[in-house]
């Protein structure tokens, strides 16, 4: 089964019954200093491995960049 997620505003097909950790791994983001918001709520790093993703989930994956 494949579900569609919205990751940083873009639709993305993903395996159902997968976790946030698996998504970040697929996106080559493992080990990067980042933060994730799912449907408007922060997902703490400690819960990435146990957070199941569902059809239509809206994810924001952010990093720190240069700014003033």
């Amino acid at each position: 089964m494949v579900i569609t997620l919205i990751v940083n505003g873009q639709p993305r097909a993903f395996n159902s019954n997968s976790t946030l950790t698996q998504l970040l791994d697929e996106l080559n983001l493992t080990g990067k200093r980042l933060a994730v918001e799912r449907n408007g709520e922060i997902v703490p790093r400690s819960q990435h491995a146990t957070t199941q993703l569902h059809e239509g989930d809206q994810l924001e994956v952010v990093v720190a960049v240069g700014g003033g």
Binding site: N28, T30, R33, E37, V61, V63, A64, V65, G66, G68
Partner: protein, 260 residues
């Protein structure tokens, strides 16, 4: 020189710098080092999906162990977006709660929307954030931000990135005189004399980005700004001589001139 104290924490430098608009991370690193700043602002943005895992990041150039990161809400036009951005920042930076709040009201002038900023500040303070707030140079707004618990109030000197300098020293002076929390000029500084003027007025510090990043030689300007902030603060502490309008006063003895 006595340290800058924000939310109970001591900082040896009164110059705070942004990390945007530099040519590359190496130039960022060199300029920040030359500025002597302890506090550096960063923005929070969506990561590039598909970026290579080993690509350098800002955190490599400016290790959080060495600098105090001040995540900002640049580009946010609503209280809701600003609050969400800083919640992400706190998660990103392992619970770090010192933040720079700015809620903009207009894409041309980047002028702050004080009503939305007040709304956001209230939520953030309630959630335990230590809020350094970017605002207009309205003394009543500044007073409101202090009263609600902001740890620093940061009025603009002129528009963000404009380099137009200190346009209304009179308003800044009212704010400095009335507030007890640090007042830090944020935005508008163009060159070293602007920073010195802000400090001579009695500001606790100056925050700048473009004045350094868009100088012809950013690293040299960063060093100039370091000196300007120190010089301006020392001049403030020393207390300037009174102005004597149209009244000259010779510095050399008036007697003993030859031929007299």
């Amino acid at each position: 020189m006595e340290p800058l104290i924000i939310a109970g924490k001591h900082y040896s430098s009164r110059l705070l710098v942004g990390t945007g608009k530099y040519r590359d991370f190496e130039q960022t690193r060199l300029a920040v080092e030359a500025s002597g700043a302890n506090i550096v602002t960063v923005a929070i943005r969506r990561t590039n999906i598909g970026q290579l895992a080993g690509e350098p990041s800002l955190l490599d150039a400016l290790p959080p162990s060495k600098y105090t990161y001040l995540p900002n809400t640049a580009g946010c036009y609503t209280a809701d977006d600003a609050v969400r951005t800083l919640r992400l920042a706190r998660e990103l930076l392992d619970g770090h709660d010192l933040v720079k709040l700015e809620v903009l009201g207009d894409p041309q002038t980047l002028y702050p929307n004080v009503a939305e900023t007040l709304k956001a500040a209230e939520i953030l303070i309630h959630e335990g954030f230590k809020v350094m707030v970017y605002t207009s140079d309205d003394p009543i707004a500044a007073r409101a931000f202090e009263a609600m618990g902001c740890v620093a109030v940061m009025p603009l000197a002129s528009l963000i990135g404009s380099g137009m300098g200190i346009l209304n020293p009179w308003n800044l002076q009212i704010i400095i005189n009335e507030l007890n929390v640090p007042v830090i000029v944020d935005a508008g500084v163009g060159t070293a004399s602007d920073a010195a003027i802000a400090m001579e007025l009695g500001c606790a510090g100056v925050l700048m980005n473009t004045a350094i990043a868009h100088a012809q030689q950013p690293v040299l300007m960063a060093e100039a700004m370091k000196h300007a902030v120190i010089a301006g603060h020392q001049a403030f502490l020393a207390g300037r001589m009174p102005k004597k309008i149209y009244t000259a006063s010779p510095s050399s003895p008036t007697s003993g001139l030859i031929g007299s």
